[in-house]
Symmetry: C2
Subunit: 193 residues, 2 copies
Amino acid sequence: MADDSHLIERRLASATLLQGDFLLAVRDTVALPSGAQATREYIVHPGAVMIIPMLDDGRLVMERQYRHPMGRVMVEFPAGKLDAEEDILACARRELLEETGYSATQWARAGVMHPVISYSTEFIEVWFARGLSAGTRQLDAEEFLDIFTATPQQVLDWCRDGTITDAKTLTGALWLQNVLNGSWTLEWQQLST
Amino acid sequence: MADDSHLIERRLASATLLQGDFLLAVRDTVALPSGAQATREYIVHPGAVMIIPMLDDGRLVMERQYRHPMGRVMVEFPAGKLDAEEDILACARRELLEETGYSATQWARAGVMHPVISYSTEFIEVWFARGLSAGTRQLDAEEFLDIFTATPQQVLDWCRDGTITDAKTLTGALWLQNVLNGSWTLEWQQLST
């Protein structure tokens, strides 16, 4: 293990900056490695899960959703935030069903990504799903999104040409490419239900 | 073009929620596609650039930096925020020099990613740099980070095994893999200086 003492900051104090309807922001005072003090402001986030849903014919279930901070419709893999105390696989199953209507019998955890390490605690777990069966989606009242399917090659082409710019979906494409070419392996779990 | 009128939200009002030392947060009131109203809270960000610096022997210049919201040291490609009115390539050259000490004679813009489309306007442009020459880095007083080099295969292995979880660096790895295997091409520009 590397000795990181010359890099590590130590929290001295913490204050809530903002408790919005959606955003929780805090400001910490930290001791820098030099001994000087600095402030660090960031969003506190419960974490999320993204699903890469693979149909039996190899196509992927994806979403088109308007994202207000971007001011446009984005192409994404399905994803959603963890509810309080929620198990991550339970969240993945719930979000896939709510947003797409699909249920999956097989699931595999790929890994975790951190979308914005400089100003949010958010993590997004990446899961693959297969053995999909279609049902009825259950969107929240404030949620509007389209579902469509795409081939892995289309997804990769869209990552190259700028159709896909969402970092979680780009990270999903990295996993997808390496799983499909056999470089990275997944451990699938079969659900009983 | 798809007709997205059933997805698009329209801003009705905007208010500043937080003007911190670092974070600027706003709350917009929007009209949903249904006609109902909702609030959207997000961080306003100036944008950033990430550099994938390739040494003549094929190794990559990377960083280890403590990230307070994560509570640990992260492995990343060099990156930094745009200054006001700053040209993106100028920012890339400045950040590479400040953080690593390297200058590059050849640059190629790969694309753009959006790290957190649900609650920040941030974009990160992805640039490759080659023709590197080492110099002296110029860290900010509050910046502490280690520079090291790694092979592309090491970077990809670290994306798989969880050593790298930073979404911008994972996105950089997607570009790196496809550029090196010849699937995606870059347009290099030679700098005169």
